[in-house]
């Protein structure tokens, strides 16, 4: 069990362990702040391009599973032998971007270098964005734009929320993206009051933000490694 990922990233004796945890932390906390130094460091530790891509994809994917598990509040599958640390809701949110990588620069590592990954990602992303219910397409686009903006993904257009419900969906998407440890019943109160009362609609609001976050994280991390 990883108690303090930052301590592992800094001090673990195995350079590959340090590099993998550093990558996981960067993708999770601030993909927009990654630079080519991260790539050089991971290569020096002994990871090749395919291994670095694998770590980026795994960290992005688990970001989704973490958010869904916390948003739904599902029970543990195993006896808790490790006594997991308590959640600290007062933990400050992840930082919003102060810069964004240029997605047009040729990238040293691309999603297409992994067989099948582009199609699987596209199918999931299309599902997240291209439906009319429970969230409308417009609401999905508003959420996707907000999530992209919080992660430094300039490939997804930011849409100005126009209604109270759209603003509440953006607030929830912020929480999903930058402070997932605060997800829970009180996070859903506002969208429920504004008409998204049933659990399937609330789940869709969270899952849309979480899903698009997976792909914004991947895009931003891979573009940022080119800097």
């Amino acid at each position: 069990m990883v108690i303090d990922p930052r301590a592992v990233a800094d001090r673990h004796p195995d350079p590959i362990v340090r590099a993998l945890v550093r990558l996981a932390a960067a993708v999770t906390e601030h993909p927009w702040a990654i630079t080519g130094d991260e790539l050089a460091r991971a290569r020096a530790a002994g990871l090749d391009e395919a291994g670095i891509l694998h770590a980026v994809l795994q960290a992005s994917l688990f970001g989704h599973f973490n958010r869904i598990a916390d948003a739904v509040g599902v029970d543990l599958d195993y006896p808790d032998r490790f006594h997991a640390p308590h959640v600290e809701p007062a933990t400050p949110p992840y930082l919003s971007p102060t810069s964004a990588p240029d997605p047009q620069v040729p990238q040293p590592i691309t999603l297409s270098s992994r067989p099948g990954a582009v199609d699987l990602a596209a199918a999931w992303e299309r599902y997240a964005l291209d439906r009319e219910a429970p969230l409308t397409r417009r609401q999905r686009a508003v959420v996707a734009g907000a999530v992209a903006e919080r992660l430094g993904d300039t490939t997804t257009p930011m849409l100005e929320p126009k209604t109270d419900l759209e603003r509440a969906l953006v607030d929830l998407a912020d929480l999903v993206t930058l402070a997932p440890w605060r997800l829970g019943p009180s996070a859903y109160t506002r969208i429920r009051l504004l008409g998204m009362a049933d659990d399937a609609a609330v789940f869709d609001a969270v899952a849309t933000a979480s899903s698009v976050g997976v792909f914004s994280r991947i895009r931003v991390a891979l573009a940022a490694l080119a800097r």
Partner: protein, 89 residues
């Protein structure tokens, strides 16, 4: 008590019952099988959206079936991510 509804496999009908059946049939190392004998909580947590379930877990299979990271290395990335996100699950 979950924050959002979880439809258990025993109560599932239609598309959800069908996708639960597919999830149950996935190849899986024995260590990943929940001690309660049922479908993993993270799968059931997706029960309100049976369309999303195969998309997310299909991507997961694509990410993790072929390497090149070893199983412990994948788990390390997952554990570090989960800890930073303070995921209780």
């Amino acid at each position: 008590m979950p924050h959002l509804q979880i439809i258990d496999p025993a109560e599932a009908t239609g598309a959800l019952a069908e996708v639960y059946g597919r999830m149950r049939g996935r190849p899986m190392p024995p260590i990943y099988r929940p001690t309660h004998g049922g479908i993993a909580g993270i799968v059931r947590a997706h029960s309100l959206d049976p369309g999303l379930m195969p998309k997310a877990f299909g991507f997961s299979g694509g990410v993790n079936q072929a390497g090149p990271l070893t199983w412990p290395q994948r788990e390390l990335v997952a554990a570090a991510t989960s800890r930073l996100n303070q995921c209780f699950y």
